[in-house]
């Protein structure tokens, strides 16, 4: 090997090494600052749209005052159906964001609707204490059944279904839905 060939080989090797270290650091840094749950489920957004363009089936559930409420009353709006429960910490964590988004986007046609697997009186108390500003539907077994019908096979929470103005399911979100993701969706659908 001539000395110039050896130099080139050395430089190429060094370049590959630097690229490798850089890429590894990049991957490492990608992992570090992100909440693993958020990161894991952020990617879910794209993958969960496997059944898009399905109409939301009509249904009725009780509200916290035990009055039947039909989903039809929000026809024409971008409906965010959020399945949650008081025993689910990630569900409770996202409620303040949903409250703020309802406040900010309500006038533009966004309607959040909570669907809780808890008993009505528990949800009523919780909604009052947390000053939730959107309707809550309840029904332990019926809410779970509805979630499964909409694609939540495991029954895991939180689970959020976003319905466009025409009544079609635009997105299904497993896990927490961040403000950024919600706003991106609203920009597309409003």
């Amino acid at each position: 090997m001539s000395s110039s060939t050896a130099k080139i080989t050395l430089w190429v090797s060094a370049a590959i090494l630097v690229a490798g270290v850089g890429a590894t650091s990049y991957l490492y840094l990608q992992k570090e600052p992100v909440n693993p749950a958020t990161a894991a489920l952020a990617n879910t957004q794209q993958a969960v749209n496997e059944q898009t363009k399905q109409p939301l089936p009509e249904f009725q559930l009780m509200d916290v005052d035990e009055k039947p409420q039909s989903i039809k009353q929000w026809q024409g709006k971008v409906v965010v159906l959020n399945f949650w429960a008081t025993w689910c910490p990630p569900c409770r964590r996202e409620l303040p964001t949903f409250k703020a988004l309802q406040e900010e986007y309500g006038d533009q046609g966004v309607q959040f609707v909570g669907v809780s697997l808890d008993r009505g009186e528990l949800v009523k108390d919780y909604a009052r204490i947390e000053a939730l500003n959107y309707p809550q539907l309840v029904g332990p077994s019926k809410a779970l059944e509805l979630g499964q019908k909409l694609g939540n096979r495991m029954g895991a929470l939180p689970f959020t279904v976003i319905v466009d103005r025409d009544g079609y399911i635009a997105e299904r979100v497993f896990g927490e839905w961040s403000r950024e993701e919600a706003e991106t969706t609203f920009k597309k659908l409003l």
């Binding site: 890429a23 958020t38 993958a47 025993w87």
Partner: protein
């Protein structure tokens, strides 16, 4: 060039996180319960918890609806303490937890019963499962029986919509 392509592919594929609910275990696989008969008054229950999942201590309990039997007080080992902004101080178990379940048996009760194991847990991916209820048939005539729980969600479900895959 090949190295660059590989690096780009690695970056695009991200840090190896879940892509959909297909990456979640069904609850009966994430939380497996086995019950062994120790003696005529004691059962030993062991929860095997998949990596990346955890159970809440205060949500684990046992009961029975078999006439002539009652479940005594269960003492739990200490779990991992976590300060949750929404729940305050919570205690969780990972990997496994084993407890003795004392039985109070009335004279003349048949030597078989159904133990109901209640639990509730979450996945590190950021979702929680509804409270689970498993019915475990127990025979006290054999001291070494091991039974696995049949999964029954605590919430009434349409039988056509099973939680399992």
């Amino acid at each position: 060039m090949r190295v660059a392509a590989l690096l780009i592919a690695l970056v695009i594929s991200g840090p190896g996180v879940a892509a959909s609910q297909d990456d979640l275990l069904p609850p009966e696989e994430a939380f497996v319960v086995e019950v062994r008969t120790i003696d005529a008054q004691t059962l030993r229950a062991r929860w095997v918890i998949a990596d990346g999942y955890f159970l809440y201590r205060e949500k684990i309990s046992f009961s029975t609806d078999t006439p002539g039997y009652r479940v005594g007080e269960v003492r739990f080992p200490p779990g991992k303490i976590k300060d949750d902004p929404y729940f305050g101080r919570t205690e969780t178990y990972r990997y496994q937890v084993m407890v003795d379940v004392p039985l109070v048996r009335e004279p003349g009760a048949a030597p078989t019963l159904t133990l109901i194991a209640h639990s509730q847990g979450c996945a590190d991916l950021g979702v929680c499962y509804p409270p689970q209820k498993r019915n475990i048939p127990i025979s006290l005539s054999s001291a070494q029986d091991v039974s696995s729980g049949e999964l029954l969600p605590a919430l009434a479900l349409n039988p056509q919509n099973s939680l399992s895959r």
